[in-house]
């Protein structure tokens, strides 16, 4: 191993060791990435389910105002936890106008009011409710659900009375056989499609965000603490210093991103059946290109963050620059999700950030289109080189030795 390689390795190793000795770092780079998606995808639905169950068991007060009370409708209400009151009424105005009932619903004296008016074989109805109240919304939903059943009954009855067969009249167009068998995409390709929707997004945002803290700590942090001056007096060159620090940040970020993807796949695997998400069918070429694209993205992002942090005089200043800079990744990442890959114009593969995200999406679908690969590879190498050059320029500056204190 050459002296230079040895020095780069020494710098990177020290950066990683020093960084992980802080327990907060372990939480930030291991615990949070692993738990984030499982918590979001597993606990959140559980919470939603329990809230929904609570609402299902809630007794709601519904008032029915009508000139007639159809039996089918009343029976369907009895199936749920509902307290019904009946008021005989005739209506001259629109049923949707709350008029004297406005305050009663707003004050939650009653959860919802169903108004029915039967005229010329048509049931006219409205539901007076308070959309900002969960009880009122639940009452409205139960009313609508009962009304749908009631409407189906009337429809079926009228079809029968007209001498028609109910089933064929209501459902004259039907899919024959197992719908999933008609899809010619393989399971692996389908898995690739699902993964391509979020892996590039997670990769881009998490790579950028998880590199912020170590980048700042290893540059502006060192500058602020005065450790950089001692380091600059050593025989290692500024480029070796940059490479060592880059390697340190990339290792920490890489571990974080990898763990987050593991957490994400676990959450999806837990939530869905195994045929919802399987192993994407990728060729060796696509896998190699995925690795290359991620590497190029990491070179660019980490070098850029190191450069911006090194330009800063203090940790505070670096944080106020790099924090908002995440928008530069989030917007393109979200934008890329809606770009249609079929017949996509080649120029998209030359735009910074977007090029790598689109490349990942294509490659996860196992689409290796030489023209696209050539464009994103050349443009990414160019952007990564520019970022590395900019970082090297910042590291060569003389004033990085000075501190605010």
């Amino acid at each position: 191993m050459s002296k230079s390689t040895q020095r780069i390795k020494t710098i990177a190793k020290k950066e990683v060791v020093e960084f992980v000795r802080d327990w907060r770092t372990i939480v930030a780079i291991i615990i949070i990435p692993i738990l984030m998606f499982p918590v979001l995808f597993i606990l959140f639905p559980v919470l939603l389910e329990s809230e929904a169950a609570e609402l299902d068991n809630k007794i709601v007060n519904i008032e029915i105002q009508s000139n007639q009370y159809p039996m089918h409708l009343i029976e369907s209400f009895n199936e749920s936890y509902t307290k019904l009151t009946y008021v005989n009424a005739t209506f001259n105005d629109s049923l949707s106008l709350p008029s004297t009932d406005l305050d009663r619903v707003r004050d939650m004296e009653i959860d919802a009011i169903l108004r029915l008016n039967y005229t010329d074989d048509i049931w006219y109805y409205s539901v007076i409710h308070l959309s900002t109240s969960e009880s009122s919304t639940e009452a409205k939903n139960r009313i609508i659900s009962s009304l749908i059943k009631f409407e189906n009954n009337i429809t079926e009855l009228r079809i029968s009375e007209g001498g028609l067969e109910v089933d064929s009249t209501l459902d004259p167009l039907r899919w024959d056989g197992d719908m999933s068998k008609a899809d010619v995409a393989t399971e692996g390709e389908q898995a690739g499609l699902i993964l391509s929707l979020f892996i590039p997004l997670v990769l881009a945002i998490w790579t950028f965000s998880s590199a912020i803290q170590p980048s700042i700590d290893m540059t502006a942090g060192e500058r602020e603490r005065g450790t950089l001056e001692a380091l600059l007096g050593l025989p290692c060159t500024r480029n070796e210093l940059l490479l060592g620090k880059w390697l340190g940040v990339a290792t920490i970020t890489g571990v974080g991103v990898l763990l987050q993807i593991v957490g994400l796949l676990f959450a999806i695997g837990y939530l869905a059946s195994s045929d919802f998400i399987g192993i994407p069918a990728l060729s060796i070429g696509a896998i190699i290109l995925i690795i290359i694209s991620i590497m190029l993205f990491a070179v660019m992002v980490v070098a850029l963050e190191l450069a911006l942090a090194m330009r800063s005089h203090s940790v505070k200043e670096a944080g106020s620059i790099l924090g908002p800079a995440i928008i530069l990744i989030i917007f393109p990442a979200l934008f890329t999700q809606v770009i249609n890959l079929d017949g996509i114009e080649s120029f998209w593969f030359s735009i910074p950030v977007i090029n790598i995200l689109l490349a990942l999406r294509e490659l996860l679908l196992d689409r290796v289109i030489i023209e696209h690969v050539a464009i994103w590879f050349v443009s990414s190498v160019l952007y990564a080189s520019l970022a590395a050059y900019y970082a090297a320029k910042q590291f060569r500056r003389e004033d990085i030795v000075t501190t605010l204190s």
Binding site: K14, R225, A230, G233
Partner: protein, 281 residues
Amino acid sequence: MAVDNILLKISSVRKNFNEVIALDNVSFDIKSGEVVGLVGSNGAGKTTLLRLMSGVYRPSSGSVTLGDDTPVHLMRDHLGVVPESTGLYSRLTAWENIRYHSRLYGIDDSVSWKRTLKFAQSLDMEENLSRYTKGFSRGMRQKTALLRALAHGPKVLLLDEPTAGLDITSARTVRSLVEQIKLEGGTVVYSTHQLFEAQQVCDRIIIIHNGNVMADGSPKQLINDNGCETLEEAYVMLTQEKARVRFEDSISDRGLTKIWNKLFRPKTPSLQLNQDVMEDE
């Protein structure tokens, strides 16, 4: 290159930071085995000069060379530097700090450990080598930084205010170590603004003021040449011109930051107004 007869040469060095001239036409040689004191007030240019000697800065003009006229930044293996801030990593132990630098010098761990132990005894630091530097006092930090600078066996040791902020005992220990290095034939450049200390430790004193070398010689020579009774008198005589403020912090403000800082500079009452107020009182 053989560096047995190391001679640090500072030849017509000028160092600018944008429009500010930090050092102007500075020239002197440092012979092997000498302990040289750089004395001057805050902002005189001592730290800039030490950074030039350690290769952290490059001269705007002139040269700083080591041995056979090789630019000093190419000979950093032969230098040991203790910056004013000490520059220790708080999440590493004292020994890990020392080992990290030694490895970057390309020195085997066993070699640097032996040298560290040798000097740690003099500094009474053996027990602290395995401790994290986070809770270290200023004196312990300074001693660790010294051990770190010595672990690779440098030919020249550059110390930037090594006793600043130290208690009497620690300062004395540091000075004793410098004397030990001197006895062993080492070369030391020692920056300080304490005349008493410079007189006690150094063979030769270079007085720097506002970026210029005002005097260069042994303490006795400086006193005699200026017709004074004490070194302090000689120093005051040589540095009569008002000392400038420290300038380095302002050099990095550029572009929008510079404009922004100008716009929002806090207002300070004028000196004239202050005098009026004092007279009224």
